[in-house]
Symmetry: C2
């Protein structure tokens, strides 16, 4: 492959944008951004497929392969996929060093292009998790979720209260941590990554099982509770007091959104089916559904919930219509294309440097981390055993399903770091806790679900 | 729908990125960028579906609906989808005025977010045209393209030489335009938008007809010739002389790329099929194919060709394998999702202000434009009549198929504007010529193809 020394010259249709730019600031070079995005996507797909295939062969969940593949190509090892918000610059990205070597850009244009390219990969990864939750919503059954609603609610509440209480009290009494940082770390323990758990459930066809629907219901509620908890903690850190109106508003709007979209969605569903039937241009079902999905995602984000909750609600509503099998088939290739971007990016952002015990400042963090990990796992695993009135339930699986903190946990760590309230060792400890719970949960969940299935099938056989 | 006055606060997972940002410059706000992208995609899909459905009902090609829908939501009418490189700022975008009104961002953050959001929509639209050309490649048959190669080559060469000569000479002698700007305008007449023509052909199932394959072959060759012509003209404008080595390099690398990828692709095809068969994780065929597509797109862009040529070559190669039906089915939903973004963005960028005769400076431009349009249409329509040895060919359709200048013509206008060599009226005239040929060609092509089909079927019946 011949790369010329002038990658971005006058004749380039992307470069043309830069030439036309009227803004005073340095603009990104369109062709460089596109080149960076193409190379990043190639790296992401290679990492996802290599990691996933290795995991599939040693009987681990493929999503773990995406995460580990992401770690390998990310900031911890190869530095191919790195992001400016973790302090990386264009010169830290191997892809941009390659682009720099093959092009002739000014350092400012290169920096702007790196920043723009990272934003594109960020958004593609966020579209990936939006599509994932839409797909999970499509495959979930509203009736089942409502049926197991009380169980899910208890799992979610216990899964927030137990780790928060144990973590905060433990830090204060065992480690002498001041109250505010201890509360913050406790709050970080309450998160659950719905994406990772749902992906594992889907991979082993357990999404529509009773356990699957309880976990999904509880994870959705946990996500809402987590947003409320973070709002409480953030306002506590910022102003020293809890803004009750804001918290009330958040709780009410979250409830109103979920119930409202489902009620309105059911009313409008016949019109949706009728509209799709009348369209004559390409992809009528898909495009109308994408509009619904993006609209609810936007509304959810705008009322301070998360975009993924809107996407989940959209999937749930459209999954109730007669079109849902056809729609699922069309969503699968889009999910196949975008979802790996999300998980590989989560892995790529994970900085394993905090795990290095050779760095003295990490050691205290690792000791606190060990405590947080124990609390994080126990606090969620016990939630399964709070379930009542469901004798044949794999309680352990439900608890394990709530363990991964994933990207939600990292948000807590990030807000804490930005507020300056966390000591360096406590921040590192939270990140280590998030990493370990995220990476350990997928194989663990698969293990307990498959063992449960063997037990119950052997019972049936007997 | 309740929008709170603080859209992007501490608790937002996207905002978290901003908080962590270490760069000295003002960073975009992640949540604002995501919100802007979601709203933009909703607007783009609504514009595409409304425009497309109206066109489908009045028997016009749906792709024209995408373009017109784009014009309506773009810089010319509603200002919902606007781009910084045309001089627009965040305050020019209705979407960002909405976001500003519902949020509490500093003007700098808003501007940075607008710029990042525009870059994301740009890249999504470029991914859209990449997927489109990949799909066209999949549906094309290498054997047919080679069979009609000589005809396509003649159509392409005549379609470059004729409009260039007529345009340049006409401008110099009829309008007294200086030589260099006249050459530039003549060069802009040589372009052909492969995307628009291919989409119309696909819409009426004529892509694999003889005419379709000649047009596609000629459009691909025209794209390569166009790149060479632009390189010649740009170096002429810049240095006053033609850099022969650069031109030679471009021509050789273009030929080597197309022939090389096809030869290597044929050699590697069995390994591709074998590899896909061995993969156990989700979407093996799609992901491996996307890697091939992105890789060839990157290589084509890196050797100064266009990314879409690489995507076309990838589609052509993978279309020869036994997996191509399965792959086509999986690519369709992805194309349905991304391709409309490309056409709506092309429409949204089109500034109809240059067509307003009430502005005095436009009048001279409109007169020159009328001349350019006549030359642009005649210069391409005659190409069909140069075809030899193919008696039953719809020659008119082939010529009309080469008429739309589309985004390629705008690149010429943009490079010309940036170089400062074009007068304001000549620049406006080129843009008007691009608009008219782009918008007139789809209905015209459909008309002549359908009329041709009727004639030939009535001949058969008789």
């Amino acid at each position: 492959m011949t790369i010329t020394p002038s990658l971005n010259v006058l004749i380039d249709p992307g470069g043309f944008r830069t030439l036309l730019a009227t803004a005073a600031e340095v603009e990104a070079d369109g062709a460089t951004v596109l080149g960076g995005v193409l190379l990043s996507l190639i790296v992401i797909y290679l990492a996802s497929k290599l990691g996933g295939e290795i995991c599939a062969r040693i009987n681990l969940p493929p999503v773990l392969g995406d995460l580990v593949g992401g770690v390998v190509v990310g900031i911890s090892v190869l530095n191919l996929i790195v992001f400016p918000e973790t302090g990386a610059q264009a010169s830290d990205s191997l892809i941009f060093r390659f682009i720099e070597a093959t092009g002739s850009l000014t350092p400012e244009t290169l920096a702007a292009s790196f920043s723009a390219e990272s934003e594109v990969i960020n958004i593609l990864s966020e579209l990936g998790v939006i599509i994932l939750l839409f797909e999970i919503g499509l495959e979930s059954e509203l009736g089942e979720l409502i049926k197991y609603g009380p169980q899910a609610a208890i799992v979610a509440v216990v899964g927030v209260v137990a780790p928060f209480a144990m973590g905060t009290v433990g830090l204060i009494y065992l480690f002498g941590t001041p109250v505010i940082p201890a509360i913050f770390a406790g709050a970080a323990l309450t998160a659950t990554s719905i994406g990772i758990t749902a992906k594992v459930l889907a991979e082993i066809n357990k999404l529509s099982s009773k356990e699957g629907q309880i976990i999904i219901g509880a994870a959705v509620l946990d996500d809402i509770l987590g947003i409320v908890v973070l709002a409480v903690v953030a306002s506590l850190v910022k102003t020293g007091e809890v803004q009750v109106t804001n918290i009330l508003f958040l709780s009410v709007s979250a409830g109103a959104f979920l119930i409202g979209t489902i009620l309105v969605g059911r009313l409008l569903a016949p019109y949706y089916v009728g509209l799709v039937a009348q369209l004559k241009t390409r992809g009528p079902l898909l495009i109308v559904s994408l509009i619904v999905m993006f609209l609810l995602s936007y509304v959810a984000a705008a009322i301070q919930l998360e975009a993924i909750l809107g996407a989940f609600a959209a999937g749930l509503i459209l999954g109730e219509t007669e079109k849902h099998h056809e729609l699922e088939e069309q969503v699968i290739p889009i999910a196949d294309m975008l979802v790996p971007v999300f998980f590989v990016v989560v892995g790529a952002r994970t900085d394993l440097a905090v795990l290095n015990p050779a760095v003295p400042s990490n050691r205290e963090g690792l000791i606190i981390a060990t405590f947080l990990i124990v609390v994080a796992i126990i606090g969620k695993v016990i939630t399964g055993f709070t379930i009542f009135g469901q004798p044949d339930t794999n309680r352990l699986a439900i608890g394990v399903g709530m363990v991964p903190r994933g990207e939600v946990g990292l948000v807590f760590a990030g807000v804490g770091a930005a507020s300056g309230v966390l000591s360096e060792s406590l921040e590192a400890a939270i990140i280590v806790m998030v990493i370990v719970t995220t990476f350990v949960a997928p194989p663990l969940l698969r293990l307990v679900l498959e063992r449960g299935a063997q037990t119950s099938s052997s019972t049936e056989e007997a």
